[in-house]
Symmetry: C2
Subunit: 237 residues, 2 copies
DNA sequence: CTAGCAAACCTGTATGACAGGATTCGGGGC
DNA sequence: GCCCCGAATCCTGTCATACAGGTTTGCTAG
């Protein structure tokens, strides 16, 4: 396993190292779990100090392209929504993205997810979905626990689409959603409004369990109509 | 501007530092362009070595949450699709994601983008779109230049949706798309097949220019039907 | 052949140093 | 009083070295 010396994109040595390490992974067809050369070895091959290799590793680890652990060599990582979630939170925090925009994207994507999940869900997923919908209803007095059920519900659904990219995107909204969820819930001030929210989840779960893609998609659409309305009531722009 | 000392998520000092810096940005409402404390200053406040602060900075810079430059202080960054693009490439490279899955997501999202763009595009965007469609037709003999026009076409459209999250997601497919685009193009072996591809872009541009959301969405749907068929012909799973 | 242990390897962090690039601030000219 | 310029200062990028743990490897003893 050797590394070539093409200069990286920018003039920086770290940028160069990141490029070289990425190329090394690609050229050697490294798969998740495979081990990379040690920092010292890479430093030698790239003719830079260990500092530079370490910073390059940190960059790749931040994107969960590789995984670092003390004492162990760096390994190729499984893709994960964590970094994307942080990026989204940053976007919202710095007012480059607003919550309504995220909900528009979520509606678009989750309607498709519902369709696919209705066609592809396993029996276990159908049951897990029903359980999370029931969990929502059961914790109606404890918003802090409700948000966990809501997040889990949508995560299971995304997984059931059998397309990891959907799961990734939904996961990337996880941080933002968990921070704003309570606002939406509080804005549903009447028992009727709250009941609608609970029923919508149950409808989605039922349609997916029944394997009815149109009904699942329609229920998801209603769910987002209702949620977006709640957010508007709350004045979240 | 000070930093508290809550321990980070994992035991690592770098993880702690990343958390503290993130919190510092949030608590002080730092906006893109604003400067962060210097490495030495943070090292002092967090009671860690500059090494740790630097690695934390690298992590945040990898996600484009902050921006680093020689001699200058780190600044809060504008959100950017670069890291997401690298993550997607990694996912495809390691066979955790396949091209068809990406195309399913793209179809879902770009149909919505077409709808929004038809409603919200500026005059300049309508013209730029037409120009890129024309560029595609003009460079039909040079796939390397064609892919640039295709990427630009979809990027302009995404921007015209006036929802940066759509632009972000489309951008995250940029790397993968540019690497597989040529395969799809080559698989369109007849002049008719190639003409269909060109016409579809022109139809989208025309519908968006006319401000007809249904037509734009339908044209986009046809575009993806055609593209996905081309990829299937090419045997890309 | 296996279990266990020691050596070798490896990463996380700290310290100190220094070469440029960037910022700042004071002074001089107008 | 204001603007421009240069020097002092600050700051980042990189290197070398050191050492405390954690991990892997390989040898040895039973």
């Amino acid at each position: 396993m050797t590394v070539d010396e093409r200069p990286g994109p920018d003039g920086s040595l770290v940028g160069h190292a990141v490029g070289s390490i990425t190329r090394l992974m690609r050229d050697n067809d490294l798969m998740p779990g495979d081990r990379l050369p040690s920092e010292a070895e890479l430093a030698r091959q790239l003719q830079v100090s260990r500092t530079v290799v370490r910073e390059a590793f940190r960059s790749l680890a931040a994107m969960r392209i590789i995984e670092l652990a003390t004492g162990r060599r760096a390994t190729v990582a499984r893709i994960d929504h964590g970094p994307m979630s942080l990026m989204m939170e940053h976007g919202v925090q710095t007012e480059q993205i607003n919550i309504q925009q995220i909900y528009d994207v979520r509606r678009t994507i989750e309607m498709r997810i519902a369709t696919l999940a209705a066609l592809r869900r396993t029996e276990a997923e159908a049951q897990a979905l029903a359980a999370e919908a029931a969990g929502l209803r059961a914790t109606v007095e404890d918003p802090a626990r409700m948000v966990g059920h809501d997040l889990a519900f949508h995560a299971i659904l995304a997984d059931a689409s059998r397309n990891p990219v959907y799961a990734l995107i939904i996961g990337s909204f996880r941080g933002v959603t968990s921070e704003t969820w309570a606002i939406g819930w509080r804005s549903r001030s009447t028992p009727e409004a709250r009941e609608r929210m609970l029923v919508n989840h149950e409808r989605i779960a039922a349609a997916v369990a029944k394997g009815d893609p149109e009904a699942a998609s329609a229920a998801m659409s209603d769910h987002f109509d209702e949620s977006v309305r709640a957010l508007i009531v709350a004045g979240l722009s």
